[in-house]
């Protein structure tokens, strides 16, 4: 009941927000929040640290960008194609990666993501260093012109809510129970007869497809698909967002993405712009040292301590 009220409140805030805050900033925030939520599905609920999630963000972006530029399909189809493409890549990468655990899993995903990075750098249709520029937003279902930032914002919001809902549902599903069991005690899950690698694989596919959805949407928002999205920096940034917000919590990645994107936006214009990586680094260190469960995690602990 309390949670439902919270959701209702957040939706109302999200609906009125573009009249108060610059919509493109909000869209950026939502795209990264979705990306972080998708990543958190693996890290927080299965215990798998992927260090190559940029590959899926970028793949979604490039596919959508290319199709929008070259074929003139409607944006919802472009996004669908980007999402499926990222999911397919996730199926291939995931199949290889879930055979390994811990740091080796992280290294395999990083190596595979670097493979994707150099592919997009060299491939003839990605525009190399320039990326794909001037991607048209098109008209949703051929009807609603998305070049208007307000229309685009509500489209992005709808996509975000769908993605968020799907993750929430996955976490609170029979499948999600098994994922949590694997996170808690993998050998025991095996001894109860579960083929844990199959479960990890499916979770990996869902996570990568949703990361792709975030990337596809982001490409439409900025009308740009570039190497930044497939660079390993991006894979690191999503780790930071998730840890800062609180991994394994539903709202953590959302808050973490909000904080990181806000700080970046705030600093990038000013004279502190050159120090942005140092500042993010310090924040990361403080987060890891002082509040391990992240902002949302610490808040939940506080509530539990004081109001139970």
């Amino acid at each position: 009941m309390k949670i439902n009220k919270l959701y209702l409140f957040l939706i109302v805030v999200a609906l009125v927000a573009p009249s108060l805050v610059y919509p493109v900033f909000l869209m950026k925030l939502l795209c990264f929040a979705l990306f972080a939520c998708a990543f958190n599905l693996l890290l927080g609920f299965v215990g798998l640290l992927s260090f190559g999630h940029a590959a899926f963000l970028g793949t979604g972006g490039y596919i959508t960008g290319y199709l929008m530029l070259e074929t003139g399909i409607t944006p919802e189809l472009g996004i669908l194609a980007g999402t499926l493409g990222a999911g397919l890549l996730g199926a291939i990468y995931g199949k290889l990666a879930v055979k390994r655990e811990g740091i080796y899993f992280a290294m395999v995903t990083l190596a595979l993501a670097q493979l994707a990075f150099f592919f997009y750098l060299q491939a003839p249709f990605t525009g190399g260093e320039d990326g794909l520029q001037g991607v048209p937003r098109g008209a949703l279902f051929g009807l609603i012109d998305l070049s208007d930032n307000f229309a685009m914002y509500y489209f992005v919001l709808a996509i975000f809510i769908f993605g968020f809902w799907l993750i929430h549902r996955t976490v609170h599903s029979p499948f999600g129970q098994i994922l949590k069991a694997i996170r808690e005690n993998e050998p025991r899950a095996v001894s109860l007869g579960y083929n844990v690698n199959d479960y990890k694989w499916v979770a990996f596919i869902i996570s990568s497809a949703l990361a792709g959805l975030a990337g596809s949407t982001k490409t439409l928002v900025f009308q740009l698909a570039s190497l930044t999205d497939v660079h390993w920096h991006m894979s690191g940034e999503v780790v930071l967002m998730t840890l800062l917000g609180g991994m394994g919590t539903i709202f953590g990645p959302l808050v973490g993405a909000g904080v990181v994107v806000s700080i970046q936006n705030l600093l990038s214009g000013g004279e502190l712009g050159n120090y942005i990586n140092i500042i993010m680094g310090v924040i990361f260190i403080i987060c890891v040292l002082a509040f391990r469960s992240g902002l949302v995690g610490e808040f939940q602990k506080l509530m539990k301590k004081n109001f139970n």
Partner: protein, 275 residues
Amino acid sequence: MSADYVLETRNLVKEFKGFTAVDDVNLKVERGTIHALIGPNGAGKTTVFNLLTKFLTPSRGTILYNGADITSMKSAAIARKGIVRSFQISAVFPHLSVMENVRIALQRKEGNSFHFWKSVKVLDKLNERAYELLDEVGLKDYANALTVDLPYGRKRALEIATTLALDPEMLLLDEPTQGMGHEDVSVVADLIKKVSANRTILMVEHNLHVVAQLADTITVLQRGAILTEGDYETVSQDPQVREAYMGVEADDEVAQAIAAANVAEKANAAKGGTE
């Protein structure tokens, strides 16, 4: 009368780089019995367990389950066949509730474990069965507690309830009473006795009181090989076993433990006689 074996190993060998942890073991576990695997530290007991459940791959030899060769099967598949193991440290899912722990096991046969689009509420129909299982091990009142908050003995009881949820034909218990206080030990021993009905149990156990109380057959391992086999009386009298346990250091504690166990067993037998 030919014996009916549930689990059988033939010339089972496990070598780690130049070191033979399990050496030509021919183990036969008779249906419906409690079979204990004992031996000094490093004798290869846990390795045998890991081989039987394929957490390790045997170097050579075959494993037969109900006469069928399961040597090449994967761990999860073996569990689905009906052999479920426990671990030395209590194998629970600490940050799930007690109820959820049992439901994870019950869920497997529902066939919805990949359904990520369904609400977790579809699992509520398993609650009744989960309560029954928790009641069986005396945990009914803790159903909604977070598992990590349970005392150690109760965690082990929960582990047994979770295992029973799979209704396995055979249980492999790796040191079920390890690290427990006196009271917990007897509670768990009683529980094992209770769940052994219609089942076969193979257990690794250090506590010789428990072994004496429960085991129908005992196999003694030493340096990876079977030293001797038989019921408690036979095994405890065997001079080789005494030597293996006491070794050159003549560990009095073990000798006392064996003697004490003997007394306890006789007392038990006497009690059984008067009842």
